[in-house]
């Protein structure tokens, strides 16, 4: 069971890394600046950022 969980966790990590990488490449291709919503803390709504 632990092995299966490890495989699922590894697969998920690869998917997450892939998504983040693809997103970063796309944003670079469009000359868009990253928004700092990655650091969002708490459950308050993220304000619309002028630099996005």
């Amino acid at each position: 069971m632990n092995k299966r969980l490890s495989v699922v966790a590894l697969a998920l990590s690869i998917v997450v890394a892939g998504l983040a990488w693809r997103g970063a490449l796309q944003s670079m291709a469009h000359g868009k600046k990253d928004s700092p919503v990655l650091t969002a803390q708490g459950s308050r709504p993220v304000p619309p950022t002028p630099w996005r």
Binding site: L12, V16, A20, Q26, V37, S43, R44, P48
Partner: protein, 230 residues
């Protein structure tokens, strides 16, 4: 504009944060998680301040925007200290807590210098850009530290259920925020994605509330599960 779903997620997250703080004051065994309780208390206080600023100036106002990112930097710092506290607790048992403290100070010092250097290079308004750069770098360092502790706990097959659940809550929180961030970059036009960061923000206090109230400090993971035998 904010809809009922935004406000409901906000309220649920806030109530969970208040619950964790009150439980932390009541339960003496949670004194070992002091920095974590301080972080959650800061989150709760910040939700009240954010709400009052939003009520007064509006969701799209500069006041809310600036408050959001400055308070975000302070909260990220407190979160980093909370995660470093968890690290310190694990290393203390091996008599290495001094090293963790030194490492924490080195990471903080490096990140302050890095954020100041990036701000200087980009020639942007010092205060604003510094808060964002510092927050992003510290968040990343906190994430690496969490995954490091997570791997350490798994490798050592640590049976302390509460500690494992607290670290796992942070691990899932960081993973979820990364997915939300990546999806927003890929599909910027999809408005439904703006719910994801607050949802992940609510996940952390909710999972902590469950852990502190339902799992005692003495709870241990059954040996057969640690050994992977069923």
């Amino acid at each position: 504009m904010l809809g009922p779903f935004d406000l409901a997620v906000w309220l649920v997250g806030f109530l969970a944060e208040v619950f964790v703080v009150l439980w932390g004051l009541r339960d003496r065994s949670l004194r070992q998680y002091r920095s974590l309780i301080v972080y959650v208390a800061a989150l709760a206080a910040n939700e009240i301040l954010s709400f009052s600023i939003l009520q007064r100036y509006g969701f799209s106002s500069n006041e809310y925007l600036y408050y959001y990112y400055y308070s975000d930097a302070v909260l990220t710092l407190l979160m980093f200290v909370a995660i470093a506290g968890l690290c310190s607790r694990i290393f203390r048992e091996q008599g290495r807590s001094g090293r963790v403290r030194a490492l924490t100070m080195v990471i903080l010092g490096t990140l302050v210098l890095y954020a100041a250097a990036v701000t200087e290079v980009k020639h942007q308004l010092l205060a604003t850009r510094f808060a964002v750069e510092f927050s992003e770098s510290l968040y990343f360092a906190g994430m690496i530290l969490t995954y490091g502790v997570w791997i350490l706990l798994l490798k050592r097959r640590d049976p302390r259920l509460r500690l494992v659940l607290v670290v796992s809550a942070f691990g899932i929180y960081f993973g979820g925020q990364t997915i939300a961030y990546a999806l927003r970059l890929i599909f910027p036009a999809l408005s439904a994605l703006h719910y994801l960061p607050p949802l992940m923000g609510a996940w952390l206090p909710l999972s902590l509330a469950y852990t502190v109230s339902k799992v005692s400090e003495e709870a241990r993971i059954p040996l057969e599960q640690l050994a992977g035998v069923y």
